[in-house]
């Protein structure tokens, strides 16, 4: 399980672009196109290998109206999903 002090790095072999606040990613290995909603796009774009999960939660909390525990839970769940799919790593 990812910890709040972990930094997370998105997979650099997945080109991506922000389009109207959402994100489109392409998984080069299987050519699958992935569509991220606005919140997921913010998480993805902040997973730069420098910011911790806690800092990512701070960023999302500062941008969207939701209580912090809910955001924390959603961010961790999304990051763990990405880790399972090799779309991100914990350096």
């Amino acid at each position: 399980m990812v910890a709040m002090d972990n930094t997370v790095q998105r997979n650099e072999r997945m080109p991506w672009r922000i389009i109207e606040d959402e994100a489109i990613l392409v998984n080069i290995d299987n050519e699958i196109v992935i569509h991220l909603n606005e919140v997921a796009a913010v998480i993805w774009s902040t997973m730069d290998g420098k910011r911790t999960v806690r800092e990512i939660v701070d960023t999302v909390h500062g941008m969207f109206k939701a209580d912090r525990p809910t955001i924390e839970k959603d961010v961790v769940r999304f990051i763990e999903e990405l880790l399972e799919k090799d779309a991100a790593t914990v350096p």
């Binding site: 080109p15 080069i28 050519e31």
Partner: protein, 275 residues
């Protein structure tokens, strides 16, 4: 032997080969795509090359029915001889603007040339703001219309239904951003007797067979997804994906895109292709 130049979607390749018969065959096959433009890359067809087995080709990206593999990082093509053995077929050097294809003894080169040539064009095109797309296209009064969809989606059918239009392609074409405008270009693959034509794109339709006609605007992000889903990739080069993503977004932001649910008969094409 004087080199031939072939230009596809604005990407010009100089073909250098000492085999006269081969060059004449290429000139005939691509006669409508001959060019005098300055070349973007040189495609060397090498005879009398000592080639060798590729030891670590299992990590390569395979594409096409001909079992050609591109090995990441090394930019080598190879042919799959059997499950474990790959013979080096050539190499591609994007930055050096050179492609090599070896004539191997006993190998029917025609089909391999076409596959590797298409692959090379695709690489250079994507670096120049273009892409190859599963789509048919028509040109009417100087305006291009793209009908994009996967196999069996009705690309040929819908293109043939367009009255007073030139069917530019019935299976694949190139899109390219040139001087800020979005253009469609025919390609010499996938369609019979392809003519070398191009036009600025007026509309893009993502097509679906249906009983009743329905047309609705495609949201930007959905248009990007559909373009990507119908783009030819098959490469380990992430820069090509990144450039293609950029190009697709540029086109989707500037060209009107629609979902088109269409019946195979009906008198609706005039209205569809009007401004």
């Amino acid at each position: 032997m004087k080199p031939s130049k072939i230009e596809i979607a604005g990407v010009c390749a100089k073909i250098v080969c000492q085999e006269k018969e081969f060059v004449l065959g290429i000139e005939e096959q691509y006669r409508d795509f001959q060019s005098t433009a300055e070349e973007d890359f040189v495609f060397y067809v090498d005879s009398e090359v000592q080639t060798s087995l590729v030891p670590d080709a299992s990590e390569g990206v395979g594409y096409g029915e001909q079992n050609i593999v591109l090995i990441p990082g090394k930019w080598k093509y190879s042919i799959v001889l059997d499950e474990d053995r790959h013979m080096e077929l050539g190499s591609i050097d994007i930055m050096g603007a050179k492609v090599h294809l070896h004539l191997l003894p006993g190998l029917e080169i025609g089909s391999y040339f076409e596959l590797v040539f298409m692959y090379a064009i695709r690489h250079f095109l994507s670096y120049q703001g273009g892409l190859l797309l599963h789509a048919s296209g028509v040109i009417r009064e100087g305006r291009g219309f793209v009908f994009c969809g996967p196999d069996e989606s009705g690309k040929s059918t819908i293109a043939k239904m367009a009255p007073a239009s030139l069917v530019a392609a019935d299976d694949s074409l190139a899109l390219r951003v040139a001087n800020g405008s979005c253009w469609l270009y025919t390609v010499p693959w996938g369609s019979r007797d392809s003519k070398n034509v191009s036009a600025p794109i007026a509309k893009v339709f993502f097509i679906h067979k249906a009983r009743e006609l329905e047309v609705r605007e495609t949201a930007l992000i959905e248009a990007v997804k559909q373009f990507l889903a119908n783009t030819f990739f098959h490469t380990p080069d992430e820069l090509i994906y990144a450039r293609t993503l950029e190009t697709v977004q540029y086109i989707a932001e500037r060209v009107s895109c629609y979902e088109l649910y269409f019946p195979p008969t009906g008198d609706y094409m005039d209205a569809l292709l009007s401004s």
